[in-house]
Symmetry: D2
Subunit: 254 residues, 4 copies
């Protein structure tokens, strides 16, 4: 079992805003989105959470240990500094996907993502303090084997990108369908997944599946902790072990 | 014919840096990457270019009208403000993919992306001034039909993301293979492609292909200009026309 | 008595860096400095602290409630994202000036601000937990009476700025000399001071002094709390009361 | 003669916004202000201009070579990314102070800085192209002699700051009154002044005046060019010459 707390972060009425009164300059939208993500990354990251940019207008955070007051403060801080506002929906579940489904439903119940009058919703509740354990969050950090040697330094930059993107698209779908887990591309050749309690075999199977379907070779380090940040750092250390001893799957669990 | 000028932007020796002396905190890496992208978006965007984050450690820009001096200044500005440096490789070609292949080769010839002593490379050359025309850049702005109504407001946030991601992964591969064109996810349900000179049929075929393979319905606005920014803005206006009259493909070319 | 905890934040070897190998572009230095300050403002602000930019290469923070681990994390986060590093020196004292003097000495003892090999110093200690009280920090928020009506909307922008600057220069000197308190210009016509335990008469005297010497009329709201953020917010509310009832000095203390 | 083009940048209705519906958190205001300044520094700086933060809600830029279209684009870019908007007023004059006075009047004529309905004013005109010369902008870069050795490494951080601040307050007033020139503190122990055409004697007198009144020793490098950026860079190089040969005033003019 894991006990992942997930926060769905949605920019209120963003689509319409981007084209009102007429389409806004793309460079400004890109700047706005990526800086908002950077800020959220710090705001949640300084409280031991992880945020993934996913679609940028809908971001997904792992927020074990972060209460509703801190969520409200993040919401207020963004409203004070951006031309847009955020709605936040918090939920927990036995699997990350179940938690996010609950969070999604809560937010949908509050109104459409493109409703003018649905602003700064803050719903849901964090994991109860007395139910929290040192194993609540499992993070898996994947990368592509020899990405620089095989791709970046050898084939065109876009073809490299296609390989990595196909690997990601397949892995995200597989982990969601097979294991109710959520995988996110985080740059370079790296994918970070927030998983339900998967064992070594499950990771070997996932890697084999991706190799078979899209011919991309992955390896993975896995960590586990009370919150996202130490779980993710453990996963990084485990991935370093993969790099040094050639294994495909390494666990660094307490 | 198009005459796209492309710049490959690569963070020097980034992979090793992220784990030296030991893995750096993911939240800081995410902040660094997304802010660097935001800055580049402004630096090139203020000179009528477009930058796409693609892998974040390797970004791709459309830079018609931007000379080597301006590239050098971008490089210097980043070195003055970040703990990492950038290499830039500039190339042009009859298709965007051809241009990027040249840019990739130029950079690979200068050394590995993970070589310690390969820093701040600046190679290539911009489109000759007397060969520039008002039709050099074709930009296509796609989005997913009724994404909010069909997905965001109805199914889980991750399942929505999977749909959009599968649509993107398929479109990027198709446009690259069929038309030497480069498509980038830019957030929300939006994909921006820098294309070789495609006609309406080609866009209808692309949309049909994506619908068939992954069951995602796209529409597209297409613009064309001397540089990326006005071509992209024309594409956005064309996409607004799609939204209002229900067509799948609209051109807003001069 | 107050029990202010102060952190002196110093960019390591910054002066030499700005001119090595030759002078760096001023626009980049300005961007670097102001963004670094913005980040520190968030990093400490999210932990109920206040940071003042003062000289930008030497910043001063009020950090009651923020331990050495959090300081170390701030230091690490900056090193991960900037081309420069920070030294931090933490101290407490019966007056803010006394605390800062201790912090200054601790850092000077570690080496020169422009020594190449003095990097990322982290010294001092926070207020002991069992000695913390609800009255540890007194914040005074000053502004200039009718600044917009009398200056901004009527005389030249620089002459307005001169008035405000002379008011600030006089107030900072007076509060330091008369009361061991630290005043910082924070933009607009606002000055925030971290004070030793001053009473209403002391504030009236300070306002009278500034009026006499440089003919600038100030008013002030004063707040007090366990940490900087709620003390500062109380001060803002008190200043709003000044604005509404015309008083020059209003306390909003628990 | 100089021919300085100055832009007054004013955040629209900022004071009221900061306290509506109630006082906003100071850390967010500080972050907003300093990031806005950083962005403007890049936006104008990439077009060879200089921006000074001065009061943050009223900033002053030297914008020779930057036309009204570029000003409009800066205005639009900020509106797209911030919760506040900017008014811009452009003017030129034989002295920097005269130019800024014109810019101030133009903006005051458009309405109060705190009028709700006065938003995104864009007024004035740039230097006519055919009147521009290679000597239009004179920039003087001052710093404090031996600031690190005499102050930073020896006395308390706030007392150092007081010295520098008193030096700045005196210099700004003197240069304004004696020479219609505009001086700005830019961090560390640095002051940058945009001057009318001053000769060596004038700078020696300014330095002597500041030494006499507040006992702060300055030196200065002076540059001159068609726009702010190369004039400022020449001034920096001249200041480096001061540092090496011990002179108080060095010119690096074409």
């Amino acid at each position: 079992m894991t006990n992942t707390q997930v926060t769905l972060i949605q920019i209120d009425n963003y689509g319409p805003w981007t084209v009102t009164p007429e389409p806004r300059r793309e460079v400004d939208l890109q700047t706005l989105q990526s800086r908002l993500y950077a800020d959220l990354s710090q705001l949640f990251g300084n409280r031991d959470g992880y945020v993934f940019f996913s679609r940028f207008d809908n971001m997904i955070a792992v927020t074990n240990g972060i209460g509703m007051d801190a969520h409200a403060l993040v919401q207020e801080s963004v409203a004070n500094r951006y031309p847009v506002t955020l709605s936040l929906s918090v939920a927990t579940g036995g699997t990350p996907a179940a938690a996010l489904d609950t969070a999604s439903t809560q937010l949908q119940d509050a109104g459409s993502a493109q409703a003018k009058d649905r602003r700064e919703i803050l719903r849901g509740e964090p994991v109860a303090e007395d139910r929290r354990t040192a194993e609540d969050v499992q993070v898996a950090h994947f990368d592509v084997n020899d990405a620089t040697e095989k791709y970046t330094d050898r084939i065109g930059a876009f073809d490299t990108f296609i390989h990595i993107e196909q690997g990601y698209a397949e892995l995200m779908r597989y982990l969601r369908e097979a294991h109710d887990s959520l995988a996110f591309f985080v740059g370079g050749d790296n994918i970070i997944a927030v998983c339900s309690s998967l064992d070594e075999t499950a990771y070997h199977d996932a890697i084999a599946h991706v190799r078979e379907v899209v011919d991309v070779d992955l390896k993975v380090g896995v960590g586990r902790a009370r919150t996202a940040q130490p779980a993710g750092m453990a996963a990084k250390h485990a991935l370093e072990v993969c790099r040094h001893d050639g294994r495909d799957v390494v666990f660094d669990e307490p």
